[in-house]
């Protein structure tokens, strides 16, 4: 595994392609996070809210995206993590997670991060500042 601190501007962490989003993924996230908003788990409730079907919790996608950085815990930590929820994630969507170095400072790397669906649409987009020890 390459050290995160050795990445150059423009280089990326290995991408992760998630399996198609399943109802069970969202039920598990509801239970683990305590967010039981039924538009994420129950079809009729999603339809009542004017959605074509249940949608993933934005925080589920944001949580997944952060795992690109987990293997580097000995080198540093996620100091800042900010995202905008740009588009909805539906059942069976295939989401790919990406992080590219945007800037390097003495003790930190600034990444552009994104979760992109099967149509190439950014569903979550933001920034991570990874602080290096």
């Amino acid at each position: 595994m390459t050290k995160i601190s050795e990445l150059k501007v423009g280089e990326s962490l290995p991408e992760v392609k998630l399996p198609p989003v399943s109802r069970l993924d969202l039920i598990k996230y509801a239970g683990a996070s305590g967010d039981y908003n039924p538009i994420h788990t129950i079809d009729e409730e999603a339809k009542k809210a004017g959605l074509p079907g249940i949608i993933a919790h934005g925080m589920w996608t944001m949580g997944n995206l952060a795992k690109l950085f987990t293997p580097y815990y000995e080198e540093g930590f996620v100091q800042d993590y900010s995202v905008r929820f740009k588009s909805m994630v539906f059942l069976n969507d295939v989401v790919t997670l990406k992080a590219t170095v945007k800037e390097k400072e003495d003790h930190a790397l600034r990444f552009d991060v994104a979760a992109v669906n099967q149509d190439g649409k950014e569903v979550v987009k933001g920034e991570v500042v990874f602080s290096v020890y």
Partner: protein, 149 residues
Amino acid sequence: MFAEHIGKCSNKVKNVVERGAVKKFAEAIGDPHPIYWDEETGKKSRYQRNIAPPTFPRVFDYGVIEGLKLPSKGLIHGEQRFHYERPLFVGEELYCYAKVEDYYEKQSSMGELGFLVITNYGEDPSGSVIFTSTSTIIITEAVRKAMVV
């Protein structure tokens, strides 16, 4: 109806970064890395214990902001950001509270949207802030009108 709450805070609530909750959360975001749950991996790490994933603060109890009523349906999570002084440690106690940071309205193609900015704080027992978690929640005109009725 939200602007009057700007600056208001909830009471602090003691939370524990629970081992089982961290493991369950890590699994739910598809990140079951041993640094989050395996004691041996935690002990051998620079932290000498297990840590929690950066979005884990979603699970904490931040108390109640007096008078702030949010609709149970129709809220849109627009933006989210976390700031950390260090990772969270499994087993540690944190004192958590929420503050209404801002509220403003903007005209858009979906009508006049309300933006409510709430920051959650987590302090260690000595009162140092370890993390903040800021959510921007979008409240549409239709949802606001339904609340008044």
